[in-house]
């Protein structure tokens, strides 16, 4: 399941959605807005996407992971718009028969999302300054 959404991510529902009787391991990853990046303090982030291409890339990444691991369910949700410190910007949930596979697949998915999906964030500091984070 692939989704871009302006709304808070219901990662509890996402976790429940990937549990499967044939899968003994579930891994959920949440990316949250961090207060500090190095010395720079963030108050909120603005996320922007190129939606049709982002959805296509997310689907390709899921297919790629399914070709590598015997995944039960896969869910990748990225939130767009403004998020404050502590809010969840991205969630990845997977189930696999065994835990090693679940960890590897979840790690692969979030790494590829950050590398390949056209989504950008702008950091907004307490002094009102803002800057696009470019890779």
């Amino acid at each position: 399941m692939i989704r871009l959404t302006p709304d808070p991510i219901d990662y509890h529902a996402l976790t429940d959605a990937v549990v499967r009787p044939e899968c003994g391991g579930v891994v959920l990853f949440l990316g949250t807005v961090r207060e500090l990046t190095g010395d720079v303090r963030t108050v909120f982030l603005d996320y922007e996407a190129y939606p049709p291409m982002a959805e296509k890339k997310l689907a390709e990444i899921e297919a790629d992971a399914r070709s590598k691991w015997p995944l039960g369910e896969v869910a990748i949700v990225h939130r767009l718009g403004r998020m404050h410190v502590g809010e969840v910007s991205v969630a990845v949930a997977v189930s696999c028969p065994h835990r090693a596979q679940a960890f590897e697949a979840a790690r692969f998915l979030i790494d590829r999302v950050k590398e390949l999906v056209p989504i950008w964030k702008k950091e907004n500091a307490p002094d009102g300054q803002s800057e696009w984070v470019h890779g």
Binding site: Y50, M53, S89, I110, V117, P118
Partner: protein, 82 residues
């Protein structure tokens, strides 16, 4: 000449203060030709362009990739999602 429309995002959109730009390029045109004409026509983009990828119809494209006016073309700055 053909006219190509290029979608802009993130810093590129801010630099140009718009969602998309159009540029005339001699036909046949490649992604590499588009880069050259974009930089010349829109100086604010010139510094950012070498760090961007061009996407054609939602797929990353090499400079040798041929373009036509019906393509959906986008300028993709280095991504920073997650």
């Amino acid at each position: 000449m053909i006219t190509l429309t290029v979608l802009l995002f993130a810093r590129a959109k801010e630099l140009m203060d718009r969602d998309a730009v159009s540029v005339a390029v001699p036909s046949p045109a490649t992604v590499g030709d588009l880069r050259t004409h974009l930089a010349a026509a829109f100086p604010p983009l010139a510094v950012l362009l070498p760090r961007c990828v061009i996407a054609v119809n939602h797929e990353f494209a090499e400079d040798s990739h041929g373009l036509n006016p019906a393509d959906e073309i986008a300028l993709i700055p280095p991504v920073s999602g997650g």
